[in-house]
Amino acid sequence: MIFMMYEGSVRDVGKLLSMLSSLLNLKVVGLKYVNKSFTYGELGSIEELPLSVEDVQAPSSYKLVEEGASARFRHSFPSLKYFLYPPAQEVLYIDKDFGLREAKVDYGNIALFGIKPCDLYSMRVLDGILMNRDPYYTSARSSVKVVVVEECVKPSNVCFCGSVGTGPGVSSGFDVAFARLSNGVVVFKSGSSIGADLLKRLNVKKAGDRTVAEYGEAMGEALKSTKVLPELNALTNALEKSINNVELWNKVSKKCVACSNCNMVCPTCFCTEFFDEAELDGSARRLKKWHGCLSYSYGLVAGGHFRPKLYMRYRHFILHKFLFYPRQVGLIGCVGCGRCITWCPLGVDIRETLWEVFKSVG
């Protein structure tokens, strides 16, 4: 049955992971923590997940602490797009006779494992832009057959998913979700018939009243801690009213040096550039790379520039997430993960920007 809640232990999380490959024959992919570095890739076992480290995040600061069983990991800089929409891809090979060979993307059949609600939401946003348009994303995304989400019982200092409605819990778009409570109990819930079937086979017991209550309490606390922005409608109205307030945008982008780290770590930033490599025999390769709207090239055309000033590009970053995405794909484009805050080397904080804009309209 869908939406049933169960309880078990971390060992059951491991069993669930192996069931996905043994039972459903899926390649299990998640954020691996191996040799003290993070990459998206195929998970051999639960040992490769960052289950016993905790990320201590603040503007321009990221530290990992080994905390054993009580550690609750949220995220590092690689978001799901590193996997579904890689930073650089060869898209085309053109031989000397102008014969064209399009690069193929074949991910096989995949289960995403342990992704966070913010990253789950980012996939919906990217779907809205890229699905059935970009062939590489479409192919990668279509390979995802099962999604297992870990809900965030203990969000970080930079998390504000609750403010944008993307977390810390999930209510749709997943097959199985699990939450590791502080007492070691792991709550499982199913979000699809596949998920329901998996949990049945996992043989975990139905969650008891006490566990359900503790889960509710923990998730309630988590939600509260991430509600840090002004109410969304009021905020978008303020942004709308501030579009032409140059002084304000100069002020909020004062510290920004246009390094585009925010673009690179943002799970919903998808802008790309194409590059050519010429060979002397007339053949060529065509490559695609992420390109951030904070970079000077963004808006640059031969013979002119449509966003020559830094504030214009910073403003686009903010407006795109909060005003333009809703009009483009019907979803808010900021998932509230806070990666742009942590990984900004100058400590520019999107929460401060949004408050500043909000306050400026009184």
Binding site: I94, E102, D134, C293, Y298, A302
Partner: protein, 276 residues
């Protein structure tokens, strides 16, 4: 979705016309290529160098092939190559046609006003062809065209012929006085005030540098034209042509797929915001 959306079709260059200093029209012939609508553009690929979005400035069938004209100005790495090294027989790649073109269906009975600046006449030319082919379905045809100097005017070989289109008014301007020029001197947008315009039955199609289009919008509005009867074709950095590379965003629009042609009422909130 196209089977191979990012793969250009190889196309042979069948003609090159020198239009103006640094401006050439390159004709390519293609099989199995969709017929572009007026105002749409193609991504033109120079092998090993890159792709550029170029408006379709003409399209016609020749046998089993579709011939498409792209008017290119040499401003960047790729356009410089296209205007310097490409000759009849050269191969380029073409993807497209992309975007939303000029609204012409449903405009029957209306007067058509074309305002073009510089190379901005290129995407407007298919409108002239369209109206000419259906002359009785439309009202008057106004063609207002301006360039910096007489040399910079494009389609010189056919500008004169536009006056032969029945019920048409053609006015050409250059920005500054030039020896031997007897026509109007000033900005093309000045010409808007020099025609007998009936705002209630006119649709305006505008393309040129963005500053010029902004002036045109103001002039047309002062002549009583409604915002939903003015159409502008925008230029932005474009890399994909189908709304995935994100670099052409203008407000919430992807200029490549939501445009490049927009009605002024769609743009009103953004057009006056610098760098949006």
């Amino acid at each position: 979705m196209l089977a191979k959306p990012l793969t250009p079709l190889p196309a042979v260059v069948t003609g090159v016309i020198d239009e103006a200093p640094l401006v050439k029209t390159i004709y390519v012939a293609l099989r199995d290529f969709p017929e572009p609508a007026p105002g749409q553009f193609n991504m033109v690929y120079a092998r090993g160098l890159g792709e550029v979005p170029i408006s379709v400035s003409d399209a016609f069938r020749r046998g089993d092939r579709l011939v498409i004209a792209h008017t290119v100005r040499s401003v960047g790495a790729v356009t410089k190559h296209l205007t310097t090294f490409i000759e009849v027989g050269s191969q380029v790649g073409i993807r497209g046609p992309y975007g939303r073109g000029w609204p012409l269906e449903g405009m029957e009975g209306m007067d058509v006003l074309i305002v073009g600046g510089g190379i901005g006449l290129a995407p407007l030319r298919p409108i002239i062809r369209y109206v000419e082919a259906r002359r009785d379905s439309f009202g008057r045809l106004f063609i207002l065209y301006g360039a910096r100097t007489p040399h910079d005017l494009i389609y010189k070989h056919e500008l004169g012929k536009y006056t032969e289109i029945p019920n048409s008014v053609v006015k050409v301007s250059i920005d500054k006085p030039y020896e031997g020029w007897t026509g109007y001197v000033g900005f093309v947008t000045d010409l808007i005030d020099r025609i007998d315009l009936d705002p209630s039955r006119t649709t305006a199609y505008v393309c040129g540098p963005e500053v010029m289009m902004k002036v045109a919008v103001r002039r047309l509005a002062s002549r009583g034209l409604k915002a939903d009867k003015m159409f502008l074709s925008l230029e932005r950095r474009m890399r994909c042509g189908m709304g995935v590379c994100g670099t052409c965003q203008f407000g919430h629009y992807f200029v490549c797929k939501d445009g490049p042609v927009f009605s002024y009422d769609e743009l009103m909130n953004y057009l006056w915001v610098d760098g949006i």
